[in-house]
């Protein structure tokens, strides 16, 4: 445990000698070494890297002398409770810097449910089969870095036709007394016909030190299984994040991913990719980013249609205040075999700040001829008529704007299938806008 924190500047190690970074000693040595080799070969992305044209990650990595830490930390119930969603009846799992804190968690149990730490799950059948298999993990520099050096995270495996009866509320707490680079790693496998809802939240205790998370979550949704996956990124000034979610879907499965990026994390990069291995699937990728100050929020999404008869529907909505800066990439790849694909994509933005900016780029690569694909992008401001109408009904300017932002995002929030979460997100938006 003593050598878990390295003292050499982390950024220097990344660019000069990655082998000096200490990998945990476990049964994954070969995979870790391979990942590190790939990382050394490619190095960190630059502005010349196609997928990173508008986000200079090196600037953010250099910002503080981060130390690579994998030492388990602990937190208190009070801190975890900051993530409480009023009225949500759910299992609660608390991870501190990726490490499970059992005494604050209520883990679902039962036949066919295996939920525990990654480090204690390497023997699970789902782990052996699916760990590090996604092409957007295996071969992507930051995900490779995570594979090489991650300490722990949450493993979920649901056997065929198992349903978890309540949502799982996964609370990530990021805390450290020194500037820390933290790499949680998760793998969730739903076998045939299994269903679950996972809601991720983040908590950032007040502290001087800055935490940078490079988190990777691999998701497998097998035949006819269904996963509702919500990621609520409540932010903080003392946090930075690269968040990679990589899902694989098999025949007749459904995967619904919702991402909510809220203030005030200065740097957020979300990599979200879904690859379809089986026909007749449904994929919903929905996002809201509400950014303020000098926040930089980059959502990079990739829908990979390999097989026929699949539906994907993507809708991201941005509200940008002050000097906030957002990037949206919607990559859709429809392979030649993937006939009868329906792939839709929308990215709408409201620019409220004079200096707010959005770079939005659809990337459609379509090699099948019998498909329905569409994409759309808008960036605009509130309708002056609507704002005046509300104000003429005694509603103050701030409250009117809050109503209009909620109205703007409603086609995403309406799709949230957990009422308590829906109310919570709408309430958060309103509170942020009224501030």
């Amino acid at each position: 445990m003593t050598s878990d924190t390295i003292m050499i500047p982390f950024y220097q190690a990344l660019t000069e000698d990655v082998n000096a970074l200490p990998a945990p000693q476990d049964s994954l040595q070969e995979v870790r070494r391979g990942a590190l080799e790939r990382f050394s070969a490619t190095g960190l992305p630059t502005l010349k890297t196609e997928a990173w044209r508008f986000t200079n990650i090196q600037r953010f990595l250099k910002e503080y002398p981060y130390e690579l830490t994998s030492t388990p930390a602990t937190t208190t119930a009070d801190v975890a409770n900051e993530a409480t969603i009023p009225g949500l009846d759910a299992y609660r799992i608390v991870l501190v810097n990726g490490h499970l804190q059992a005494n604050l968690s209520s883990i679902p149990e039962g036949k066919g449910i295996r939920i525990g730490t990654m480090s204690a799950s390497t023997d699970a059948p789902g782990f052996a089969k699916w760990f590090n298999q996604h092409t957007q993990v295996n071969g992507e520099p930051l995900a490779d870095l995570n594979t090489a050096l991650f300490a722990d995270g949450l493993f979920i495996e649901l056997q065929a036709n198992v349903s978890v009866d309540k949502p799982i509320h996964l609370i990530h707490v990021y805390t450290s007394d020194r500037h820390a680079f933290i790499q949680p790693r998760h793998l969730w496998v739903l076998h045939k016909g299994a269903t679950a809802t996972v809601i991720e939240s983040t908590v950032h205790p007040k502290q001087e030190a800055v935490a940078f998370s490079n988190c990777v979550t691999e998701v497998v949704v097998a035949d006819n299984a269904e996963l509702w996956h919500y990621n609520v990124q409540q932010g903080a000034e003392n946090f930075r994040q690269v968040n990679t979610t990589a899902a694989q879907q098999e025949r007749d499965s459904r995967y619904h991913h919702f991402n909510f990026t809220l203030p005030n994390t200065p740097f957020t990069r979300n990599n979200l990719s879904v690859v379809l291995h089986g026909s007749n699937t449904e994929t919903n990728l929905k996002g809201i980013y509400l950014a303020t100050g000098n926040q930089h929020v980059d959502n990079y999404t990739f829908m990979n249609h390999l097989v026929p008869n699949c539906n994907s529907n993507e809708h991201y909505k941005g509200v940008l205040l002050e000097n906030a800066n957002a990037v949206f990439t919607g990559r859709i790849h429809v392979h030649q075999e993937a006939q009868k694909t329906n792939a839709f994509q929308q990215n709408n933005n409201i620019l409220m700040g004079d200096k707010a900016t959005i770079n939005s780029q659809p990337q459609l690569e379509i090699y099948a001829d019998d498909v329905k694909c569409s994409h759309g992008f808008t960036a605009g401001q509130f309708s002056a008529d609507a704002l005046f109408y509300l104000r003429a009904r005694a509603i103050g300017e701030e409250a009117a704007k809050a109503l209009l932002v909620n109205a703007f995002t409603h086609d995403v929030t309406d799709e949230i299938a957990v009422p308590a979460l829906q109310e919570y997100i709408q309430g958060q938006i309103e509170a942020i806008m009224n501030n």
Binding site: A384, R391, A392, R393, A394, I395, L403, A407
Partner: protein
Amino acid sequence: MLTIKNLHAEVEGKKILKGINLEIPKGEIHAIMGPNGSGKSSLASVLAGRDNYEVTEGEVWFNGKNLLEMSPEDRAREGVFLAFQYPVEIPGVSNINFLKTAVNEVRAYKGLPQLEAKEFLKLTKEKQQLVDFNTNLMNRSLNEGFSGGEKKRNEIFQLAMLNPSLAILDETDSGLDIDALRIVSNGVNKLRDAEKSFVVITHYQRLLEYIVPDFVHVLYNGRIIKTGTKELALELEEKGYDWLKEAEHQKESV
């Protein structure tokens, strides 16, 4: 209640209101008529505080307060209500939520506690009946996909909910069928009392048979060129505006 003195206003550099003088005492109903484009809606917008209109001259006093210095929301909280000629559709804002927010904003301004859910519901029911407003419309998005008539009824329903002291109705009658016209007018008549004033902008004498005005003003080219009693409306219905316009142009050329 409302005193308008020599009011001039322009929009995008174009002079629209060119010296309006109007006094509306408590409890009275004043009708404003006039040809298309004469400035009726502009006057209503300036009174409600629409910021694309620039007031270049004149004053407006409302219950002893300088109306032109207030934000649109404060005017509404003070008791000015504009029923829009073209109510705005706002998808995603539920009618009921919007109303609750509006009612509570007015109450907060007056130092009253927020309405409990139950009390709010009771008030809604009562006012809904007053203007025969369809319950189904309550839970829909604000005016979204409402028919022209439904939008107008919603304006009157909001008027009933907010209970202002000065209501300006901008062509609330256009787009209403005959039954709706009667229902809406009855609603207004029930809301009417010695403390409230109404400004009714209309093109049709018919409305003024239901809502009987104390005075009728004719607005033309940004000015009030004639004021009379309800008989003036009948005369206009018969003769149109040409005789007034001509008299006005003669005055100008003198």
